[in-house]
């Protein structure tokens, strides 16, 4: 193997900071996939108030990898701390997203499939389905940490780009693989960069590096009782700051929309993208 070939191989193995734009919303997915060969590492804590229990800090560690231009895979590790009750690792999730259509359309579908092995103690609130309500999360950690669940979750993601805005709808169906009915949920989001055109100057704290919007999400009952009865719903403005080095910071104050919802959640996210090998293909 000659020197040139060795240097090419080494270059391919050295991670390079990538600067793709992370999705600003926390719950709602759009049709923009991770770039092939890019690995995104992120931590996303969520602080929540809890009536009838201690306030909590849930969090997930996220590893997102672009396998193909049309296929993104993610792996999550979840945990939480509840005031006065302690901390717990609550499980893992493995998700896949596929774009069935290779060209951009007015509405772009993405198929999503996730397997989760988590406990009832999980408080990441990455999606709301079925009859997920605040009261069901008031159980003590010592009890819920022993209640293990295996879940399969499917989403239909529909996403459009319209006049600088991205409009995304997610329709969710989740099934506990051991027992229980199919549970349903939704999430919708509208996102826009603060400015549509870039400037020629290098800058960090400038409008072109920010994007924001609002998302609304909640449960839709289950196969036995489909609808809004005994469900919780949230509205969450969000803002994302894409730093030139490949790091994205996200913030989203979230407000419960009915009596079944947590009154307030505060989501924070930090993510960094790494290109695994030049070109990453």
């Amino acid at each position: 193997m000659n020197l040139k070939r060795i240097s090419v191989l080494l270059a391919a193995l050295v991670p390079v900071a990538a600067r793709a734009q992370e999705r600003p919303s926390f719950v709602t997915y759009n049709h923009h996939m991770e770039e092939p060969g890019n690995l995104e590492v992120g931590v996303n804590p969520v602080f929540g108030t809890q009536r009838g229990g201690g306030s909590f800090l849930g969090s997930w560690l996220e590893l997102e990898y672009g396998l193909k231009g049309w296929w993104t895979m993610e792996f999550y590790l979840d945990g939480q701390t509840t005031r006065g009750q302690g901390s717990a690792f609550t499980g893992f999730r493995w998700e896949n997203r596929w774009r069935p259509l290779m060209l951009e359309h007015k509405v772009n579908p993405v198929l999503y499939l996730e397997y989760a092995s988590i406990t009832e103690a999980d408080k990441t609130l990455r999606e709301i389905v079925g009859h997920d309500v605040e009261a069901s999360q008031a159980e003590p950690l010592d009890v819920t940490r022993h209640e293990h669940e295996h879940e399969l979750e499917a989403k239909l993601i529909l996403s459009s780009n319209v006049k600088g805005w991205n409009l995304a709808h997610n329709w969710i169906a989740e099934k506990n693989l051991v027992h229980g009915a199919w549970e349903f949920g939704y999430a919708v989001a509208a996102t826009r960069p603060f400015t549509l055109a870039a400037t020629s100057r290098d800058c960090s704290f400038c409008a072109e590096n920010f994007s924001g919007g609002v998302e609304v999400y909640g449960g839709l009952g289950d196969t036995d009782s489909f609808g809004f009865k005994d469900t919780s719903h949230y509205v969450a403005p969000f803002v994302a700051w894409n730093l030139p080095g490949g790091t994205t910071l996200r913030l989203s104050p979230t407000f419960g929309l009915n009596g079944n919802s947590h009154r307030f959640l505060l989501r924070f996210g930090i993510a960094h993208e790494i290109a695994l090998g030049r070109g990453g293909r």
């Binding site: 951009e104 400037t199 070109g279």
Partner: protein, 136 residues
């Protein structure tokens, strides 16, 4: 769930799968790979930033942030990522380049850059059409 309802559900799912398959096969049949796959209407679009030095500068910055890791700092190409000095790219109209940036070539590893706003994609096109002078 009644048998009739089950039949209807399965029928609807089968119809949806067939419809998707038809669109996917239609996409593959209609489209040559690369910039050459751009439809005539898209190729005819003019760049609103054509010749604008500020837009070319913004495009240079966007290129360095989003594209250079695959195509090289000067567009020389690397691995599967082609050189942007290739005839196909140099001869392509601004509209065709814009269309290709928007759609990418997902099967061959080129991401769809529709995540960037339209003005930013046009700024990238302005830079690409001035690549020789802009990288000097």
């Amino acid at each position: 769930m009644s048998r009739r309802r089950t039949t209807k559900t399965v029928g609807a799912a089968a119809w949806a799968v067939l419809a998707c398959a038809q669109v996917i096969s239609g996409e593959a049949r209609e489209r040559p790979s690369g910039v050459a796959g751009a439809p005539a209407a898209a190729s005819a679009l003019r760049n609103p930033y054509d010749g604008d030095p500020e837009a070319i500068g913004a495009g240079r910055k966007l290129y360095a942030m989003q594209c250079a890791k695959c195509h090289g700092e000067r567009g020389e190409g690397w691995g599967n990522a082609p050189s942007l000095g290739a005839d196909e790219v140099r001869r392509a109209s601004p509209g065709a380049l814009f269309w290709f940036l928007t759609n990418g070539d997902l099967r061959r590893g080129m991401p769809a850059w529709s995540r960037l706003s339209e003005p930013r994609r046009w700024q990238l096109v302005a830079f690409l059409k001035n690549l020789d002078s802009a990288t000097k």
